[in-house]
Amino acid sequence: MGELIFEARAARYRYEGADADAVSGVDMEVAPGELVAIVGPNGSGKTTLARLLLGVIAPSGGAALAAGRPAAEWTRREMARRVGVVAQREEPAFPLRVHQAVLFGRYAHLGPLGAPGPRDIEAVERALQRCDVGHLRGRWVATLSGGEWQRVRIARALAQEPKALVLDEATASLDVRHEMEVFELVAALVQGEGLAAVVVTHHVNLAARFAHRVVVMDGGEARAQGLPRDVLSRAVLEQVFGWPVEVSMWRGAPQFVPLRKGEGGDESSS
């Protein structure tokens, strides 16, 4: 239905001076209304894949497309009107209030000298409400908790009025409640407003419960992808993470537990 938001075709990328591909021959696609999780261990190429889709880097081989056009050919302004990004960390160099931070999401919609108009203010207001951070609007961002700041940044991404959200380890430093809040919010945006979302995370269990599809990265390759219950098997997870695990189904979603040394005796159970 409709055009694909992101698409990778045999996408390959090697950093300058590196002796192996960071991403090698990955195929994947993201459609509107779909939440796709990219999981995998540290250094498996998750973030590089996301950067390819966002056009920050151009593939060394194959193709990385946004709306059917090579992602790296988009200007940053065009891309920002379509895709909102929330990365793991961000520290403003100067103090900033929440409403100013969210207004920055309108940058790509404004002329170089244009002042924000009623439409911009309205978009900011909607985004603040949607992320439940309206009551924080007057606060300095430095005084926010980690979870509040992430929600404010999602609000900023929504103020861009994007067709897609990309979250790169956006919950990595959050506690359970704040992490769940972020995932719930993104899932609701995907479901309710038809946004596409790409969530880069190493929290496999959350990916299994929130994502429509999962891409498991390992050594730059997409080791497996598809529905969480098809992809997140014990065999795949043990191979990718290099650690014995046990997988059980919980309300239809595979959930894994890494085993302690000595707990792995039950070769028979799978």
Binding site: R76, P92, A93, Q100, Q160
Partner: protein
């Protein structure tokens, strides 16, 4: 709105004061008559020939330095950046001292040599900071500025040590900053030159806001980070170089003024840049008036005044900001 009225009123008051104070004592009424071309001819020639271009140049230079300071703070994402941070002062000083030691004559020799030295330093720092893949790295920019400045300063020391010219003292005094040489001509040249960089910087106020968030977030919000950094750096340093060539190195205005505005009114560059311009110009006119009158008939270098006042103010601002 109240803020702008306040700043404009302060600027007007400072300019008026700059016209009134001086060795020849003229009252407010006499000064006003002279400005509009009435009354005593001596007064007219003092006010219109000497004081008016001087206060206007001081205002323009103070404003420009404040704007470039604010800009470089955004580019290197560090509130402690000042206009001379990036090797400019060393390059300008080397140029000025070399011109004097080599005995190059003429009223424009020293300013021109300082401009050339500063521009060379800018090019060198810029070149060093272009790292892998031709990207401008703000951290390397900072370090390159420091080392190029230090290198130029030691070359300047070598030239001074080897040069018998007694004028070297004058070069040093000139470097400490003065509007002594202000003229309508200097004002016209600086004014004509400053318009373009100031316009470029103001037009990039929005991307500057984003840069403060970090380069990657800025990019994802739609800013073309690489070209933004380049244009900002080039416009800001070219403007500073010319400011140095008409008035020497006047420290702390470009550091303290943007800081004060940031603390008082926040960091949105569309407001920050013009208000820093007004406040910087105002303070520079006051500092110049103090430099002229504190030890009259001797004149202090205005850079000494701005440092003597600027350092304590800065310490106070930083401590307040840190808490």
């Amino acid at each position: 709105m109240r803020r702008w009225l306040l700043l404009l009123a302060a600027a007007a008051a400072a300019l008026l004061m700059g016209l009134v104070v001086g060795p020849a004592s003229l009252g407010l009424a006499a000064v006003w008559d002279a400005v509009i071309g009435r009354g005593d001819e001596t007064a007219q020639s003092i006010v219109r020939g000497l004081r008016l271009p001087r206060v206007l140049l001081a205002f323009l230079v103070g404003g420009s330095l404040s704007v470039t300071g604010a800009t470089l703070q955004a580019v290197v994402r560090n509130p402690l950046a000042d206009p001379y941070l990036l090797g400019l002062s060393g390059g300008a000083g080397l140029g000025a001292v070399a011109a004097i030691a080599l005995g190059v004559g003429g009223a424009w020799a020293v300013p021109l040599a300082a401009l050339i030295g500063a521009l060379l330093a800018i090019v060198l720092v810029y070149r060093i900071a272009l790292v892998a893949g031709g990207l401008l790295d703000a951290r390397v920019l900072l370090l390159a500025g420091v080392v190029v400045g230090a290198f130029a300063a030691s070359l300047m020391g070598a030239v001074m040590a080897l040069s018998p010219a007694p004028e070297v003292r004058n070069a040093l005094l000139w470097l400490l900053g003065s509007f002594d040489g202000a003229s309508w001509q200097a004002l016209a040249i600086f004014g004509a030159y400053a318009v373009l960089p100031l316009a470029v910087l103001y037009a990039m106020a929005r991307p500057m806001d984003l840069l403060a968030l970090g380069e990657e977030p800025a990019q994802f919000l739609g800013a073309d980070v690489e070209s933004t950094k380049r244009r900002l750096y080039i416009a800001a340093s070219a403007l500073t170089a010319v400011a140095v060539s008409v008035s020497g190195i006047i420290g702390f205005v470009g550091l303290v003024v943007p800081h004060a505005i940031r603390i008082l009114w926040g960091h949105t560059h569309q407001q920050l840049l013009p208000s820093a311009f007004l406040l910087g110009g105002t303070l520079m006119v006051v500092a110049d008036a103090a430099a002229r009158t504190a030890f009259a008939p001797l004149e202090m270098p205005v850079g000494v005044v701005t440092a003597l006042v600027g350092v304590p103010v800065f310490v106070w601002l930083v401590r307040r900001w840190a808490s």
